[in-house]
């Protein structure tokens, strides 16, 4: 090999091209090894559940399990609905009207998972603390939710999520 290299540009091109292909190859190999940790097909196969809500008395709530997580269904009282509707949206951390969060105002259907770090908030059972806004209270780090499940105080960034659901008849809802 002579000391003076002709066509240095061509050699640089070969080096860059080789390294680029190496990187592409490494990424292609890494992808399946990383992606295997994502939910498997059977986990993904979206399950849905049907719930008859006629048994829930006004002012009471039930918890059902959907996709391994709790879903809260509360049959709200007129006072609770009114309270949720009165709130000035500008006061909310995650502004959302109460009517945008329900199909029928009497039935609030929300994911029972605190949007902070995933604990299940208290307030479902009679006698449990409901927090300063009479909805739910998360004991883990002190998040308070109102009667529409919206975050009002504490570290959680967003409102309790509304899962996809629809009323199949007057009394039966399908979640998922």
């Amino acid at each position: 090999m002579s000391d003076t290299v002709e066509n240095q540009g061509r050699r640089d091109f070969i080096v860059v091209a080789t390294n680029t292909m190496l990187a592409v190859g490494a990424a292609a190999v890494a992808y399946p090894f990383i992606n295997q940790m994502n939910p498997a097909a059977d986990t993904l196969a979206l399950s849905s559940i049907e719930v008859d809500v006629s048994g829930i008395e006004e002012g009471q709530a039930i918890t059902v399990k959907w996709r391994g997580k709790p879903v809260f269904i509360r049959h709200r009282t007129a006072a609770e609905i009114e309270l949720a509707g009165q709130v000035n949206l500008d006061d909310l951390r995650d502004p959302e009207g109460d009517m945008d969060r329900v199909e029928k105002p009497e039935y609030l259907v929300i994911q029972g998972i605190c949007t902070h770090l995933g604990c299940v908030p208290l307030g479902q059972k009679i006698g449990e603390v409901k927090g300063d806004y009479n909805g739910w209270f998360c004991p883990c780090h002190g998040s308070h939710y109102d009667t529409s499940g919206r975050i009002r105080k504490g570290p959680a960034p967003t409102n309790l999520e509304v899962p996809p659901y629809a009323f199949l008849s007057d009394n039966v809802i399908k979640i998922g």
Binding site: L117, G118, C119
Partner: protein, 418 residues
């Protein structure tokens, strides 16, 4: 490096071809060590002992444990009741994690006090912080395995920390879980990783020791070894001192295992995991409490997570925050004072991490968190400039301070080492 003469012909034959015996002789026998090490220098070998204990008991537990949500809790109960001496092995492993952290935390504060993170030991220190991080990950995943209420909710809260990352956070959490909540895929991968990570720790420990043996141990005076008169051979002096320390450690460890095996644990973890019911008061294991207090002190999700990880991140850059040329706190009157305040602050954070996040506890957590960061980011850099250090002794073997000596020679030495 003097080559030892081995008498045993087999040893001689092997050593000629594979010099492991020379290596051990050099690193564990003649290895020159400062003659003035205190008992605080025992904690390194104790950490090694704890690591080996965890690996041995862990592998035995794995022979009887079933990583499945339907069987994990029962398989641990079976270990406790039916497997021969299973209760003993599990209690050793369970308390061993706590004792490992006690040892490592003392080891770290020893380094903080005597400036062991300073040149030329920066990498040694950084490898140590890396070991701490790996230990935390390992202990966290191990605690999930018995699948009790605390296992489940601890895993839920900690994995949810990653959802604070903007944009990709939620996808990362689903990726960690392998599903839409902490569930069977999460448990099995945590088991696989809990098995793996201790061996990664062993790897980093080996690097840690290679880095240590490059310049040797720091010492309570924090000055460099200036010659043969300052050192003694590792064996038999420090081997016997380490052995004595190990016996004291094992006595305390055994007392905990036999008389108070659940003292450091949480009774809620003897209730099987229930995804629909969070325990009224969830707390992590004690060794995570200071970090947990920092997490909760910040009234913002992402901020809390950043500060929590930041608490460890400052340790990584510590060698460049404290620029004082004097290593040992003994010769730094102001630094010494702030060191004790920091220690008290960390203990306070640990206490607050175990209290509910309300009222006065929140206020105190915020103050203590602020102090923690101020100590590292403001006080230490400032002290390096304004503090008037006490005169350093001439050498380890002549600890009487020479007149007119100041920090200057140490500074020169520090530079020469880089």
């Amino acid at each position: 490096m003097s080559s030892p003469e081995f008498k045993n012909p087999v040893v001689k034959w092997i050593d000629h071809r594979l010099p492991v015996f020379s290596f051990m002789h050099h690193e564990l026998h003649e290895y020159p060590t400062p003659r003035n090490l205190s008992y605080l220098w025992n904690l390194g070998s104790l950490a090694g002992l704890a690591l080996v204990t965890m690996i041995v008991t862990g592998i035995i537990l794995a022979m009887h444990y079933t990583p499945h949500v339907d069987h994990a809790f029962e398989s641990v109960e079976r270990i406790m009741r039916d497997v021969n001496h299973g209760w003993l092995i599990r209690y050793i492993h369970m308390n061993g994690a706590s004792f490992f952290f006690i040892v490592v935390y003392i080891h770290i504060f020893r380094g903080l006090y005597y400036g062991s993170y300073k040149a030329p030991r920066e990498l040694l220190w950084i490898l140590g912080v890396l070991i701490l991080l790996l230990m935390m990950a390992t202990a966290f995943m191990g605690y999930v395995l018995p699948w009790g209420q605390m296992s489940f909710w601890g895993a839920t809260v900690i994995t949810n920390l990653f959802s604070a990352i903007p944009w990709v956070g939620d996808s990362i959490v689903v990726w960690l879980w392998g599903g839409f909540s902490v569930d069977n895929p999460t448990l099995s991968r945590f088991f696989a990783l809990h098995y793996l990570m201790p061996f990664m720790i062993v790897g980093v420990v080996i690097l840690h020791i290679i880095a240590l043996h490059r310049f040797g141990s720091n010492n309570p005076l924090g000055i460099d070894v200036s010659g043969k008169q300052d050192t003694i051979p590792f064996h038999p002096y420090y081997t016997s001192k380490d052995l004595f320390g190990a016996m004291v450690f094992l006595t305390i460890f055994a007392s905990a295992i036999f008389f108070y095996p659940n003292f450091l644990g949480h009774p809620d973890n003897y209730i099987p995991a229930n995804p629909l019911q969070t325990p009224a008061h969830i707390v992590p294991e004690w060794y995570f409490l200071p970090f947990y207090a920092i997490l909760r002190a910040i009234p913002d999700k992402l901020g809390g997570v950043l500060f929590m990880f930041g608490a460890i991140a400052v340790l990584f850059i510590l060698p460049w925050l404290d620029r004082s040329p004097v290593r040992s706190g003994r010769f730094r009157p102001l630094f010494k004072l702030f060191f004790w305040v920091l220690l008290a602050d960390c203990v306070l954070l640990g206490y607050l991490g175990g209290k509910p996040a309300e009222g006065i506890y929140v206020t105190l957590s915020r103050l203590a968190t602020a102090y923690y960061f101020i100590h590292f980011l403001v006080i230490l850099p400032l002290l390096s400039v304004v503090e008037k250090t006490r005169p350093l002794p001439q050498s380890i073997s002549m600890p009487v301070t020479g007149a007119g000596m100041s920090a200057a020679p140490a500074a020169k030495r520090g530079k020469a080492d880089v």
